[in-house]
Amino acid sequence: MNFTKPGIRTWLLAVYLVFSIGGLMVMNRVFQANQQQLKEAMEHLELSEELRQIKLDSSADSLKAVQIMEDFNAAKGVVQVSLSESRFYAALTLLIIIVVSSTVFFVVLTKLSKPLRELQSATEQIRHGNFNVHLPETGIHEMKMLKNSFNVMSRELEAVQKRLLVAEKEMIWKDLSRILAHEIKNPLTPIQLAVQRLEERIATDPERVSMILNESLEIIKQEIENLRLLAQDFSSFAKISKAMRENFNPETSIREICRSYAADYNLELDLQPDLAVLFDKTHFYQVITNILQNAMDASQPGQAIKITLGRDKNYVIISIKDKGSGIESDDLSRVFEPYFSRKTKGTGLGLALVKKLCEANSAIVRVKSKTGEGSEFTLIIEGNKA
C-alpha cells in the first residue's frame, strides 16, 4: 500500500475536525451536564405530597394550598417538557451544524484545491514538453493572477521552443552543408588536377598523352568511387530501415566479414561457437564492419586487432579491440555523435550509424579507450542459445 505525505487539504481537514467539531462537542457536553443537573434537582422537588400531609385549619388555607400545588405541578411539568425539548433540539441542531459546516468546508476546500490540481497537471504537461497548455483564468483573484502568470510563462516557453527549433534546424543545415561541401571538394580536387594534366599534355605533347591517360583515368575513377561511397554513407544514415530481428549465429557472420580483411590486417579471433543473437542480419554486418573499419583506420600496419565473442547470462558480448592511437578522453563522449571525427578521411557518420543500428535492435554499444594504447568497442546483444 502506498502512503503519500499528507497535503495541505489533509492538514486543513485535521485542524477543522479538531477545533470545530471538537469545540462543538465540548460545548454540548457542558450544556448537557447543566441540563442533567437541572433534571436531578427537579426530581427532588415533591411539594404536592408534602402539602397534602399538612392539616389545614380553614377552607381558605386549603384552597390556597391547592392553588400552590396546582401552580407548582404545572410549573414542574412545563420545566420537564421544556428541558426535554431543549435536550432533543440541542443534539439535533449540533448534528445538523456539523453536517452542514462539514459540507460547506469540503465544498470550499474542493473549490480552493481544484485550481491547484489544474496547475499541477499543467506543470506536469510543461515538464513533458507540451508548452501549448493554457489555463482558464477563473477562480478567486489570487488564483486568477497565478493562472495568468502561468499562461504568460507557458506562452514565452512556447515561443522560445519555436525559436530554438528554427535555430537548431538552421545549425543542422549549416553543419550538413559544410560537411557535404568539404567531403565533395576532397575528391573533386584530384579529378580537376588529373583533367588539367591531360589538357596540358594534349596541348603540349599530344603524342605522349597515352603515357598519363591510364593513370589519370584511374584517379578519376577512384575519386568517383569515393563520391559514390560518400553518398552511400549519407543515404544509409538517413534511411535506417526498420530492424527485422532474427536469430542467427554471430560467429559465422563475424568470420565472413573478417575474411575480406584477413590478407591485409592482423585480425585475432577468439569466437565462442554455438551462440545465437537476436539482431537484424544486415544491420549486424554494418555494425561490425563500421567498428572494424574504425579499428583498422586507427591501427598501424601489422598491429593486432582482437575480436572476441562470448556470453554473459542472457547476453552475447562482442568485443573489437585495437592497439592503435586511441581516443582523447574529451572526445570519447562524442564519438557516437553524427559528423564527429578526428580522422583525416571519413564523414563522421560511421559510429553514429553503429549507435543508431544498435538502438534499433535493442542492443548496447560501449567504448573504452586510452590515448596511445588503443580502443575497445563492446556490443551487448540480446542472445539465445543456438
Binding site: M25, N28, Q32, Q36, M42, S48, R52, V66, M69, E70, D71, N73, A74, A75, K76, G77, V78, V79, Q80, V81, S82, S84, E85, R87, F88, Y89, A90, A91, L92, L94, L95, I96
Partner: protein, 182 residues
Amino acid sequence: MFEALTGKVFATVVSLSMFLFSSYSGNDPAFRAFNSRVGGNYLQLRTSLVGAFDNDFPDVFKSGTVIPVDFLLVIKKGNQVLTKSKFQNKVRFDPAKGVYEIYTAGMNRSITTESYAQMLAEISGFECSIPYNPQWGVVSVHLEATLPTVRFAQLKKPIDLMVLWKYHKPRINNNLDLRKTS
C-alpha cells in the same frame, strides 16, 4: 411512500444525533399486536401503546394540564379508504384530590384513579368498535398515534409533545379477512 422514507431518514438522523451528542433518552413508543373481534355488525379492535410514557411524562401528567393522546384509525381495501376515524384519549391530574381523570374515546368511557400505573394503562389503551360490511373482504387496518401541541398556562409558547416521542409516530398495520372473522 415518500412520507415513510422521509420519516425513516428523520428517525435515523434523530437516533444518530441522540447517540452522538446527548444522554436524552425520550420515549420509543410502539403498538402491541392488534386484537380483533366481531360482534354483530361491529368490528372490535384493541391494542395498546408500549414504551410511550416511561420517561419525562410523570411530571407532564401531573402538571394539571389536559394531556391528549390522538389515534387515527384507517381501514383500507387496496388504495380505497373504507373508513377513517379519529380518537382522542385524555388525562388530567387533579392536584387537590390527587387523582387522574381519564377519558378514553374509543369506548367513550371516563374514569378516575389515583393509581399512576392504571392511568398509564388506560391512556395507552386503544379500544374501539366500528360498524363494518362483511362484503369488504380482506382489509388492511392502519392505526397511528400522535401527541398534539399543548399550551401550558405557565408558558407562553405552545409545546409539541411529540418531542417526548422524538417525533416518532407509532404505527401498526394489520390485514384482516372480515369474511373469516364474521
